[in-house]
Assembly symmetry: C2
């Protein structure tokens, strides 16, 4: 497992301290977008959440599939996308396949979205529909 064509971004370019500090380069944007796109589906978010929050650190697919109203191939497909995004990895153990989180990737995303310390927050409070 984890050895298919899987073009795992992996090294989203160690650089770039964040989206919010400097304009992203086109290549970095492409790599980052792959990962965010993987998170852009409710099923995949729930799968990732179920995997990440598991006590032992890993989950058997046989525990994931019945949690959704979707066919087994569909769940398998979503797991594949999460794996190709570098968010999870898996291993076959006997009859079953186990998935676990790769925290490096979620850490990286959190860092990319984080606002660098005391960013001034330009003067504009939080007018989300104030209709001044």
């Amino acid at each position: 497992m984890s050895k298919q064509e899987a073009e795992v971004p992996g090294e989203v370019d160690a650089c770039c301290p964040g989206l919010l500090t400097a304009p992203l380069h086109a290549d970095q944007a492409v790599e980052l977008a792959k990962v965010f796109k993987a998170l852009g589906d409710p099923i995949r978010l729930r799968l990732l959440s179920m995997i990440a929050s598991r006590a032992g650190g890993e989950v058997c697919v046989c525990d994931l599939t019945p949690a959704f109203d979707l066919s087994q191939p569909t769940i398998s497909h979503h797991l594949k996308l999460l794996r190709q995004a570098g968010l999870i990895d898996c291993e076959r153990r006997g009859t079953w396949v186990y998935y676990w989180l790769l925290p490096e990737m979620t850490d990286r995303l959190a860092g990319v979205l984080a606002r660098p310390a005391g960013q001034p927050l330009p003067e504009r409070p939080a007018e989300a529909g104030v209709a001044s």
Copy 2:
């Protein structure tokens, strides 16, 4: 502006301390996925980055459009999606329209992806292709 059908998620459900601590509920997953999907495109990531990293805190569309090899309607479309996701907002000032970041949303995402303090990290080091 900022007053169209724009079903801004906004309150992705103040709860949920993170994706990684407990299985996400279906509704929360749907809301979160909308925002991540908005980030799942290289153009939108670069737009957001250009807007967020701007000194004055806001950018005129006329500064954004020429930075890409895309038509003006396409850029406008991407900006609309970012706005509907609650990531940015805009205002018309005279002839020009200015966009700025809504840091609440990026903060929320960063929080959702963050690993709660000293999460054990189950024993599995970081085998990204160890092929044991």
